[in-house]
């Protein structure tokens, strides 16, 4: 019998929220409008430095995002790894697009000065796992470690890896973190592919949707073995009871998502009828939102159109790899509080995306089981199932 895994800490970092409380406030004080409506289509985090010591001055901004989010999550969990380092705590990291900025900086340097005059301090930041390495060194996380760089599913893939480490009893706790930073060519690439909303307003699953709004940031979660968390008197937000990973069935992304949801539900021992809240990955993209709805319909049947759903990206924007972890964080907070956050900018239903979206304000729904799906560009889907935890 696998060990039960619970979420005991949440560390969000994005332009609108830099703590658990701020994230929750963002959704609860929402009055139907994106905080940026009419503003720039891509948002940057302005001050990611938070509790970073002098020895980590060489970090790039991706590393600072990760370290900051990890610090916030550990603080939220009131959890401190042993000062001498802890082999029992690992770190799983997911980034959709990695460290493009550090690569550009290094290449600019050697183009200007020649290959022999590259900056070694910048070079160490040119691999995506460097960010996880900094967090591991700064917080003494000496357990299992893995970095995923698989587009929009990277965060949930890291969650899947970390969940299995704790569920299988390899370690008592894992930190999961996901981060992406905006980079001019990346934004231009999304724009060239017609993915960005011209007015900068993401309208997930709305018939009028015209693209997404990119945003950067990071989100970290603390996962613990239930018994260990109870022993230390931790506050438990929710149980993470299953994760799933599915392939795209040869080119149809909705099938990858459906397979992932099936996998996660069966791992959790939960039926489609028991799902009471969906934290959708819809971002305002014409295609992604449609594929997600089709995948959910395939996996949940008629239930897909009935179960209350919310689209966190309507307020957070498309945060790339960390989208799945922001959704999982909100799902955990919803299960703990009973309040389901609303979806911004939702006014006109789209028959191609028949989700039961909560649009005006937060609703008290007291859901027992929440589903978090993520659709990937690389030909796969991921999903997580969370359950309310008895106090």
């Amino acid at each position: 019998m696998p060990n039960q895994v619970v979420i005991t800490g949440v560390g969000p970092l994005n332009p609108h929220a830099n703590s658990r409380e701020a994230l929750w406030r963002l959704f609860h004080e929402h009055r139907g409008h994106h905080p940026d409506a009419g503003g720039v289509p891509a948002r940057r985090v302005t001050d990611p430095l938070h509790g970073v010591g002098a020895q980590f001055r060489q970090m790039d901004s991706l590393g600072r995002f990760v370290l900051t989010a990890v610090a916030l999550a550990l603080e939220d969990a009131r959890f401190e790894p042993a000062p001498a380092g802890d082999e029992g705590i690992g770190i799983a990291f997911g980034s959709g697009y990695g460290c493009l900025a550090a690569n550009a900086e290094y290449l600019d340097g050697i183009r200007q000065r020649g290959a022999r005059y590259g900056n070694p301090v910048v070079f160490q930041n040119t691999v995506p796992n460097a960010a996880a390495g900094y967090a591991s060194a700064a917080r003494g996380l000496r357990g299992p470690t893995a970095t995923f760089c698989s587009g929009s599913t990277a965060g949930l893939e890291a969650l899947d890896f970390a969940f299995l480490q704790v569920a299988d009893g390899r370690v008592p706790a894992m930190i999961v973190v996901s981060a992406d930073q905006l980079f001019p060519q990346l934004v231009a690439g999304f724009d060239a592919h017609g993915q960005l909303s011209p007015d900068g307003v993401p309208r997930p699953v709305d018939r009028r949707r015209n693209g997404t709004a990119l945003s950067e940031g990071a989100c970290a979660l603390v996962l613990e073995d239930l018994q260990v968390a109870r022993q230390r008197g931790a506050r438990i937000y929710a149980e993470l009871c299953g994760t799933g990973h599915g392939g795209d069935g040869g080119g149809d992304p909705s099938r990858g998502l459906a397979a992932a949801v099936d996998d996660a539900l069966s791992g959790a021992g939960v039926s489609a009828a028991e799902v009471e809240a969906v934290f959708s990955c819809a971002s305002g993209s014409r295609e992604v939102d449609r594929w997600e709805s089709r995948g959910l319909r395939e996996a949940l049947g008629a239930r897909a159109a009935q179960v209350p759903a919310t689209c966190p990206k309507s307020l957070l924007g498309e945060t790339l790899g960390s989208g799945g972890l922001f959704a999982a964080a909100l799902a955990a907070l919803t299960l703990a509080s009973g309040w389901m956050p609303p979806t911004a900018h939702y006014a006109e239903a789209d028959p191609e995306c028949p989700l039961n979206v909560q649009s005006d304000a937060a609703h008290r729904l007291d859901p027992e089981i929440a589903l978090v799906p993520a659709l990937g560009e690389g030909g796969s889907g991921l999903a997580a199932v969370l359950r309310r935890c008895a106090p």
Binding site: G118, Y134, R142, C149, L164, Q185, H245, E377, G378
Partner: protein, 396 residues
């Protein structure tokens, strides 16, 4: 983690010293190096030796097409599928999943994206630049539709990919997984490792007292991993069973290993526990052995700590002097080489190494291949960011 048993039924490799598995096994037995002067680009340094791959049928021009790293990965995956006897278009292959590890990803496309280009080129580059493009290109080429994944962990990327794929089969997500990795030589990595003073000015000679650094390489390796009963039912040839794996972080430094190999020792211990195998049951350890002054003693320290007196009966080696440090592909290429050698009854030599370093006092196989029967082996790799992975395999 227990669950379903995982076996290797297919191997595909493309390296500096071999374009097929048969050539690779021959080269490893003969101690044949593929290191030579780099021609792919001008590295801008007085030294230019590297493990460059000659891609069959290519003239060296790049143009607008799939990134070099994807082309290497597709070649290795093609070989692995044929080697495993999986039918093209058949159901087993169509349902298979894929896990690709890479350190630098599609680096050539990235380098071109970072200079101004026209709109059409930008669209093409955006398709090739994300790390997941390698997995997507391989999956499309072979018609795979199982779970697809891209992991990146510097020099342990493909080891992690193999571990992750093992777990997918063990927990019953899929019965066949293609797992491995690829990295190509780039101006960025050649420059970066040079300015870190990690590159040799002479010859890569791991564990030797005169070692002065690593030599870069490139290549790709893919293993077909299969659930044991699935492999038996279709009468597949089985190279080895993968018994377990482990990963751990040093929590020490961005680029340097912990001086006592703390994370590596933890990864080895975790892998042995996962494999339910005692240290004394391991007959051979294929080490990372980069040939840098810092790596080799740290690694040997970790091996001593885990294996103790058993080190006297534990021959170790490094394949990097023959193929170069292939970064994200190192884990799969060196595990694949060790499995091929195990099947053929030898341990490949650590060529170029002749003067033992007292700080690396293990039984290093040097000079020529050592004939010996290996039943169970472990392959370990370490990386930037303090990541370590160990994989335990047993002959069937």
């Amino acid at each position: 983690m227990s669950g379903h048993r995982v076996v290797v039924t297919g191997i595909g490799v493309i390296t500096a010293n071999a374009n097929t598995t048969a050539e690779y096994a021959d080269a490893l037995r003969a101690g044949r190096s593929g290191i030579r002067g780099l021609t792919l680009f001008d590295p801008g340094f007085p030294f230019r030796q590297a493990g460059q791959v000659d891609v069959p049928g290519e003239d060296g021009s790049e143009g607008r097409r799939t990134d070099r790293v994807s082309r290497l990965a597709v070649i290795a995956a093609d070989q692995a599928v044929d080697d495993a006897g999986l039918e093209r278009g058949g159901e087993a292959l169509a349902r298979a999943g894929l896990c690709v590890g890479t350190s630098r990803g599609p680096a050539q496309s990235l380098e071109r994206l970072l200079v101004p280009c026209d709109g059409g080129a930008a669209l093409w580059l955006m398709r090739e630049v994300p790390f997941y493009s390698i997995a997507r290109n391989v999956a499309r080429h072979l018609g795979l539709s199982g779970p697809s994944s891209t992991v990146t962990m510097a020099c342990v990327s493909s080891s992690l990919a193999i571990g992750r794929a093992m777990d997918a089969i063990r927990r019953g997500r899929t019965r066949v997984m293609l797992a491995g990795g690829a990295d190509s030589l780039t101006t960025l990595s050649f420059s970066g490792f040079s300015v870190l003073r990690a590159m040799t000015r002479t010859t890569c000679r791991p564990f030797d007292r005169n070692r002065d650094g690593m030599v870069l390489g490139e290549g790709a390796g893919v293993l077909v991993l299969e659930e044991l009963e699935h492999a038996r039912a279709r009468g597949a040839r089985i190279y080895a069973e993968l018994l377990g794996w482990g990963t751990a972080g040093d929590a020490h430094h961005a680029t340097s290993p912990h001086p006592e190999g703390r994370g590596l020792a933890a990864a080895l211990t975790a892998a042995l526990r996962d494999a339910r195998t005692a240290p004394e049951a391991i007959d051979h350890a294929n080490l990372h052995g980069t040939g840098t002054p810092a790596n080799d003693p740290a690694e040997c320290h970790a091996v001593r700590r885990v294996f103790g007196e058993h080190c006297a009966r534990l021959p170790v080696n490094s394949l990097k002097p023959m193929i170069g440090h292939t970064l994200g592909a190192a884990g799969v290429l060196e595990l694949a080489g060790s499995l091929l050698a195990m099947m053929n009854g030898f341990i490949p030599p650590t060529i170029n190494s002749s003067e033992p370093d007292p700080r690396c006092d293990l039984d290093v196989v040097t000079g020529t291949a050592r004939d010996c029967r290996v039943r169970t082996l472990v392959s370990t790799k370490s990386a930037f960011g303090g990541a370590n992975v160990a994989i335990v395999a047993r002959a069937v």
